[in-house]
Assembly symmetry: C2
Homo-oligomer: 224 residues x 2
Amino acid sequence: MNATGATIGILGGTGPAGSGLAARLASIGHHVVIGSRSTERAADARDAIVEEWPTVSGSLTANDNAGAADADIVVVATPWEGAAQVARENGERLAGKIVISMANALVRVNKEFQPLVPPRGSVAAHVQAAIPASRVVAAFHHLPATELGRIDHPIDSDVLVCGDDHDAVVAVSEIIDRIPGSRPLDAGQLSNAMAIEAFTAVLLQLNVRYATRVAPKLTGIDTG
Amino acid sequence: MNATGATIGILGGTGPAGSGLAARLASIGHHVVIGSRSTERAADARDAIVEEWPTVSGSLTANDNAGAADADIVVVATPWEGAAQVARENGERLAGKIVISMANALVRVNKEFQPLVPPRGSVAAHVQAAIPASRVVAAFHHLPATELGRIDHPIDSDVLVCGDDHDAVVAVSEIIDRIPGSRPLDAGQLSNAMAIEAFTAVLLQLNVRYATRVAPKLTGIDTG
């Protein structure tokens, strides 16, 4: 499929990551549907984004999760514990579609984030198992919500993308490629989502340790 | 401890990673003992290094693993399946010492490397459990053996270091800091070794996909 012009639904889109991604995707020309268990909360999240970024007003609507799951491409943006469940609940609507998993399974222990290993290795693998008829792609794990949402700034980061369906990986990479400053990198099969998700804990640790905002940029790659 | 001038033993130091690290550590002024189950194989590995890099001749000796475990600081450089076992076999000699775990648990599936999750989450955690009286530090996972061993070239990479003993992390970081071009980054507790080890699969995948040699360099960090 051609990802340009695709509508994008965001399940659990009211949190920081979902809202940030909604604003960002709307800013590059997608129609974005923010979904939530509660349409009212989705509407509040939408209003908050539009208040800050009036230019995306026409590209952003609010709905319940089922309504968001009707979009062409769907992002699961809930906290990681709920990702597979919300995908399963909307499994029929998601069948055949590209579904993007962006959650990281982390736990905060004292001042440090530690990676957790979900039983299937990754949140993305868990989501894929919940919706076997969908094409799950893992992406957007390392971008802080604030950076995603500041649509007047380029993102300035590599974005690792992996999945078992090559066409789906290419389509998601096309979307990422149109976000100013971000570069999609093909990180292979969905089995690598485990490593990408867990690595978020390392990046967060480095942010705390060095009081900075680490951008993973992998040198040596010429994607021309 | 002051890591400068410490002798360093390398358990299972005859493979590419161990030999590369041995040459590199000898080149920055450490006395390095290459260990192996077979002293003869260790001697062969030592001779091969010295043939290529005669300047490190005086800083490199060969011994069995027990002899290497007598050094001040010890690296476990076996393939990941054997790392905890060789540490346990030399547990008494390693008690109280800094032990560096550098192995990655990976499996090759077709043309792609995939991360495996050892039962304790990481090779490093497995090694630490095998030698509870030692201070295990995880480091050197993302550096290819060839790059480690080409001691006439700077390494040009960040090196993520983690461990539960802060002084041990600092000492290992001091060693890394003296390797030209490499920068140690404090990645937190040993629990993060899981993420660092698994991420090696992503880096290898990117190397294959983009026919390059990816160096993980994390921008935004000023360690000045």
